[in-house]
Amino acid sequence: MSRRGKNNQTGSTLHFCSNKALMLQSFFSSIRSFILVTTLLIWVPVIGAPDIVLAQETSDFAGMEEALSGFDEEDSGIEDALSGFDEEKNIKHTEETKALFEKEDWSSFYGYTGISLSYSFVREPPEDNSNSDWSGLTKTRPFFSLTWDTKLGNNWKSRISAKAFYDFAYGLKERDTFTSEVLNELEKEAELREVYLEGSPFGSLDIRLGSQIVAWGTADSLRVVDVLNPTDNREYGMTDLEDVRIPLPMTRLDYYFGDFKLQAVAIHQIKFNKSAPPGSDYNSTTTEIKEVIPESKAENTEYGLALSGTFSGWDASFHWAQFFDDEAYLLIADMTFVPGIGFVPTLEYRHSRLTMSGIALSITSGNYIWKAEAANFWGMEFNNVKEKKFTRTEILFGTEYSGWSDTSLSIESGVRHLNDFDHRLEAEPDYQLEDRIATTLNFMQDYYNQTLHLQLFGMMIGEWGEDGGLNRASLEYDVMDAFSVNGGVMIYQPGDSLYFQSLNDNDRIFFEARYSF
């Protein structure tokens, strides 16, 4: 199942759960609910399905010897089994197959369309009709994505892809009660995504020019060295993995020698994570804070270098990047005296220019893949300590087990450590912790010749989940080739984090029907 081509993983890339607006941390244990819910989600279906994991494993080990030793006696049954061959005539597909494969176009269009729905079952409708209603149906979103690939001779090709959606949920409610930021960001969107030209001008050199995605690292749910493309965090944990990375205009060179690849990247446009707009269900703040975005000019170009090696049984890579942090810090830019109130701060979102160097490693061993990432980040700035820049160290370990048929279980855990921590950073508006820990658990299982796919995903923030988390369960069914329906539930764990507390009322069920063409 892990070999499936389409995205059936976490549905979201989780970057240590950072939030621009709310970073207050305290202790409140949501670990119990995390473990209970995740364990329940995983083991209930396992226990309840005799064909699946437990039945296979326990019965396998209990009765294997008997089964193997009984083969001689079974020879009489072999003859019965051997009579089971079908004598039907060949299925008439040969001509059709030949016709399809012999035609290889220089140009191809493909994409997907469908509708995405979500229903918030915790929130109550506002008593005052002048307030936004985030209860009930919160998304009724038809979407469309189209990609055009062309082959330009033997060594060059291009891609243009675009995506659009319109959300009818706002029109079905009191549309005027939603903020303009919400309507601008969430009601409709049409954007070009990947637009690039790529080729191999020399034997060992590949070049790709244009808007693209470069994904670094070995982890699936958490990110350490994967720093180049910003992410779409507007609906935390709900965005399809396919859409979560935001393409950026880049020049990318890949040089291959032996078992190694040397990659150089220059990013020509400064873009940051997409965050939930003020007034939305994922951002309850009402005032928009100015974000200072560095101008996309030569001296602000972001750079990345990676040396990766692919070997028998293991892969390793070294990464270096100089970039603007996609996560902003809050800066008090000004203080204004308001009679009767006092001094009121004027806040701005700022992005530090960081330098990162790190490594990533994956090793296979039987049914396991072991993963590790580690990186150091220099140049972090904060409001409360302006006299110096800080260094951050991130370390991640993970493993993926695939020893059960059509099943994958993975766990990833990482820590983000702020070096030379200054306790002034714990105060507003920085709200920093010296250590921030995140752990994810992802269980996937396929049934009925991979037509039905179960995914259970849990994440907890903090050593024992005290800073919140989320649990997501989904079931996808392939109705026919290229047409699938997917439904599930998302439950947020508030913990002591103000951010996750703000998400606590966003528990929802979701549904998506998708047709690929």
Binding site: K6, D60, A67, L68, G84, F85, K261, I369, Q450, A482
Partner: protein, 275 residues
């Protein structure tokens, strides 16, 4: 890689046959060859090298509903190791997904496998330990796609018989250890090897710990560039006489000794470039 092997020279057949290596049994003394010796000859058959081709997988459920997967496949050899690369062309939701496998001949050494997922723009290494899972929803599993270790099985030549007018050996293969049964997903198999060309043309496999059998039946066998290739094979999963699911595998435009199928092809670089 599985598919590459299949069309390279009925690799599936070979694979299945290879799964059954044998010891010496009194019953075999009446035959000129033992089951193990036959399997060694099957294994030693020329499978071809530097191949390319196209494959169609038709998945049919018990209600007759069909799903169709189309792939482009490449196969090659590096010393005694088998390399394969394949790309999904359809259905659209898996288009451009690539799968690269290094199947090592060395006993006990796990295969290397990488999967390129275009949705993630990322190549993932895959653990190749367990091979009992369904390959892309078909009735084949991953053990059907990789070369088994002959020493892990006992082969017994049961009898000589005929299949569609061709003389065959009927051989039973049983894993020597329970770990191999768990890993491959099969507790035993009976296979039919054509005596004139050492190609496996039929097999019945007992699914481990389930009351199910898988029937592999080569419907079309062609000699391409001097190499026998099964161009159409049906794999049916049954419980008793009741069909649960069926896969039809077809191979087209298979060619061997292609100049553009070389060591540079079986790399992560090529995997990420797509078909």
């Amino acid at each position: 890689m599985i598919f590459i092997k299949k069309y390279s020279n009925t690799i599936n057949f070979i694979i299945f046959t290879m799964l059954f290596s044998g010891g010496f049994y009194p019953a075999e003394k009446v035959f000129a060859l033992t089951g193990r010796e036959i399997m060694e000859k099957v294994n030693a058959r020329d499978e071809g090298d530097r191949s390319k081709g196209e494959m169609e997988m038709i998945l049919i459920d018990k209600k007759g509903k069909k799903r169709i997967r189309k792939l482009k496949t490449f196969g090659g050899k590096k010393d005694k190791d088998t390399l394969s690369l394949m790309f999904f062309l359809s259905p659209a939701d898996v288009k451009n997904t690539g799968f690269l496998t290094y199947d090592y001949n060395e006993s006990g050494k796990d295969d290397d496998q990488w999967l390129y997922l275009p949705a993630l723009r990322k190549t993932k290494r895959i653990a190749a330990g367990d091979k009992s899972g369904s390959f892309m929803g078909s009735d084949l599993n991953y053990s059907d796609m990789t070369t088994p270790d002959l020493d892990l099985y006992d082969y017994t030549l049961m009898k000589e018989t005929e299949v569609r007018g061709k003389k065959v050996w009927q051989i039973k293969a049983v894993p020597k250890h329970k770990d191999e049964a768990v890993k491959s997903g099969y507790s035993k198999s009976v296979i039919f090897i054509r005596q004139d060309n050492y190609v496996m043309i039929r097999a019945v496999r007992w699914v481990h710990k389930k009351r199910r059998n898988k029937y592999l039946d080569v419907k079309k066998l062609e000699k391409i560039d001097g190499i026998w290739v099964s161009t159409e094979m049906h794999v049916t999963t049954k419980t008793g006489k009741k069909t649960l699911h069926k896969t039809v595998l077809k191979q087209n435009n298979i060619r061997f000794n292609q100049d553009d199928v070389n060591a540079d092809l079986f790399t992560v670089r090529r995997l990420e470039k797509g078909a």
